[in-house]
C-alpha cells in the first residue's frame, strides 16, 4: 500500500460499528419469521448503510440510498405484503438450510480468498483510483464547469450511460403498470373522482387530524426540497435521481394521509405516466440536438448552435462575465439531463405506487370472507 494507513480514529470506529450493525441486521432478517419484521429491518439496514456511505465520502450515493432504500422501497414492499397477505414466512426444511449454509459458506470463503488481493481501503494509487477516476477529477472543472464531479460524470461524460439507466427505470415502471394496472380501479366507484376537491375540504373521517396537519406542512417543504436538490446537483450533493424520488415521496405521503382518490385528482395517473415517458423522450431529443449542431450524441459542447455560441462568446466578453460560452452549453446540457431524469424517476415512482396502491382497494377484503 502506497498511501497512508487508516488511523484508528473516531471515523474508523464508527465504520466498524455501522458495518457490525449491517451484518447484525442481515442476520436478523434471515431469522425473521414475519415479512413485516423483515421489511422494517430492511429500512434499518438502509439507514445504517446511508451513514456508512457518508463515511466513504459518497454523499450523492448516501442521499440516494436514504430516499430510495429507507423511503420508496419500504413503501413498495409494504404494499406487496398487503396485496399478497404473505405475512408469515414458512420455515425452511433442515436440508434446505444445510445446503444453503454450505453453498454460501463455500462461495463466501472463495470470495474472501479472492478479496485478499484487492487494494487496501483508501489506497490512492490503486488502479481504480489512479487512472480514470483521477482523470475526471482533474478535467471536470475545465470540461464541464461543474463543482460536483459526480454530476459531471453522470450528466456529461457518461450521459449515454445515464440515458440507459433512465430507460431501464421507465421500462420497469411500464412493467409494473402492465402487471398491476394504473391504479385507476381504486377510484372507479368513488364519487369524488369527478370533481376536484379544495385543499381545505375535510375528508369524511376525521381521526387523522395530527397526520393531516403535519402532512399539509410537510408536503410543500418536501416538494421545494426536491427542486432544490435538482437545481443544486451541479454544485453539491444531489441531482435528478434523488430529486425525482423526493418528489415522488411527497406525492406518496399525500396519498397515505389524504387517501389515494384525492391524490389521483391532484396528480392524475395519466399525467404521471406521461411525464415518465416524456423524460426519456426529452433526454433522447437532447442528444439529437447536439448531433444537429455538428457534435456527437449527448455532447453538450454542441448543445447550442455554433452561430449562437459565437455571439454569446462576444457578448460574454463585452459584458466581462467569466466562463466562456462553452460552459453554458455544458451547464444547460447537464441541467436538461438532470431535469429529464427527474421527471422520468418521479413519474415512474408515482406510477409504480399507484399500481400497488390502486390494487389494495379490491384486495383488502379477503375473497370469500
Amino acid at each position: 500500500m502506497t498511501g497512508i494507513a487508516p488511523p484508528l480514529d473516531a471515523n474508523t470506529l464508527l465504520g466498524f460499528g455501522l458495518l457490525t450493525m449491517l451484518v447484525a441486521t442481515v442476520a436478523a432478517i434471515a431469522l425473521s419469521r414475519r415479512t413485516m419484521t423483515a421489511i422494517l429491518l430492511m429500512s434499518v439496514y438502509s439507514a445504517a448503510s446511508t451513514m456508512w456511505l457518508l463515511l466513504m465520502d459518497a454523499p450523492d450515493v448516501a442521499f440516494t440510498e436514504a430516499v430510495v432504500g429507507a423511503g420508496v422501497s419500504t413503501v413498495v414492499l409494504l404494499g406487496a405484503v398487503l396485496l399478497t397477505r404473505g405475512e408469515r414466512v414458512a420455515k425452511a426444511g433442515r436440508w434446505r438450510v444445510a445446503a444453503a449454509a454450505a453453498v454460501t459458506l463455500v462461495l463466501g470463503g472463495l470470495l474472501v480468498y479472492a478479496a485478499i488481493d484487492l487494494p487496501a481501503l483508501g489506497d490512492p494509487a490503486s488502479p481504480a483510483n489512479a487512472h480514470v477516476g483521477r482523470l475526471y477529477l482533474e478535467a471536470a472543472g475545465r470540461d464541464t464547469g461543474a463543482d460536483n464531479v459526480v454530476t459531471a460524470v453522470l450528466a456529461s461524460y457518461r450521459g449515454f450511460d445515464t440515458l440507459g439507466e433512465a430507460s431501464v427505470i421507465f421500462a420497469a415502471g411500464v412493467g409494473v403498470a402492465l402487471m398491476l394496472g394504473f391504479g385507476t380501479r381504486a377510484t372507479q366507484d368513488d364519487p369524488r373522482r369527478s370533481r376536484v376537491r379544495g385543499l381545505d375540504a375535510l375528508p369524511e373521517s376525521d381521526h387523522h387530524v395530527v397526520l393531516r396537519v403535519a402532512a399539509k406542512l410537510l408536503i410543500p417543504v418536501i416538494t421545494l426540497c426536491a427542486f432544490y436538490v435538482l437545481f443544486h446537483g451541479e454544485t453539491g450533493a444531489g441531482g435528478g435521481f434523488q430529486a425525482g424520488v423526493v418528489a415522488a415521496v411527497a406525492i406518496i405521503l399525500h396519498a397515505l394521509v389524504f387517501g389515494l382518490a384525492d391524490t389521483m385528482v391532484a396528480v392524475r395517473p395519466g399525467a404521471a405516466r406521461a411525464l415518465a415517458a416524456l423524460g426519456v423522450l426529452a433526454y433522447c431529443g437532447l442528444g439529437v440536438a447536439s448531433i444537429v449542431n455538428g457534435g456527437m450524441f449527448l455532447d453538450h459542447d454542441f448543445l447550442l448552435p455554433p452561430a449562437f455560441q459565437t455571439r454569446l462568446q462576444t457578448w460574454l466578453e463585452s459584458a466581462g462575465i467569466s466562463g466562456g460560452a462553452h460552459d453554458w452549453g455544458q451547464h444547460l446540457g447537464m441541467l436538461a439531463v438532470e431535469s429529464a431524469v427527474f421527471i422520468t424517476v418521479a413519474g415512474t415512482m408515482v406510477t409504480v405506487f399507484y399500481g400497488f396502491a390502486g390494487r389494495l382497494r379490491d384486495a383488502v377484503p379477503e375473497p370469500g370472507a
Binding site: V26, V89, A120, D123, A140, V153, R359
Partner: protein, 147 residues
C-alpha cells in the same frame, strides 16, 4: 496479517458476508417477498464494494473546493507532507467520483426492478392464492395431474 493490514482490508470480507447473507435469505425463504428482500441485500452489498474501493485515504467527497479555503486547509493539515501534491488535484485529495456515479443510478434502477419483482409476486398470489414457493409448486403439480 498484521493489525494494520486487517485495519485496511476489513471492509471487503464484511461486504462479502453481507452478500452471502442476502444469498442465504434467497435460498432459504420460500416467501417471495422475503426472497426479494434477500436480492435487494445482495445488490446493495455489491454497491458497497464499489464505494469502498473508490475511497481514497485522507480524501473528501468529490465536490471541488479550493485548497486555500478554510475547509481545504483543514483537510490538508491532517495529511502527511507531499501526500496532497502526489495524490490530490490542485492540492486537495478527493475520493473517486466514478463509482459514486455508477452506484447512485444502480440504486434507483434497483428499486424499480424490486417493484417489478414484487408486482410479479402480487400476480402470482392472485393466480395461485399462495406466496410461498413450495406451495405454488405443489399447486402447479396438482393442476398438471388434473389435466
Amino acid at each position: 496479517m498484521s493489525a494494520s493490514w486487517l485495519l485496511s482490508h476489513y471492509t471487503h470480507p464484511v461486504v462479502i458476508v453481507l452478500m452471502m447473507g442476502g444469498l442465504y435469505i434467497v435460498f432459504t425463504s420460500g416467501n417471495l417477498i422475503k426472497r426479494m428482500i434477500g436480492l435487494a441485500i445482495f445488490q446493495t452489498s455489491a454497491a458497497f464494494l464499489f464505494i469502498a474501493l473508490g475511497k481514497v485515504g485522507g480524501g473528501t467527497a468529490p465536490i471541488t473546493i479550493e485548497a486555500t479555503s478554510e475547509a481545504g486547509q483543514a483537510l490538508g493539515q491532517r495529511l502527511p507532507p507531499g501526500y496532497a501534491a502526489q495524490f490530490g488535484v490542485e492540492g486537495v485529495v478527493y475520493s473517486n467520483p466514478l463509482p459514486h456515479a455508477l452506484i447512485l443510478t444502480a440504486i434507483v434502477v434497483g428499486v424499480s426492478t424490486l417493484a417489478v419483482g414484487l408486482a410479479i409476486a402480487v400476480r402470482i398470489r392472485e393466480a395461485y392464492g399462495a406466496v410461498e414457493a413450495g406451495e405454488i409448486e405443489r399447486l402447479d403439480a396438482e393442476a398438471g395431474r388434473a389435466e
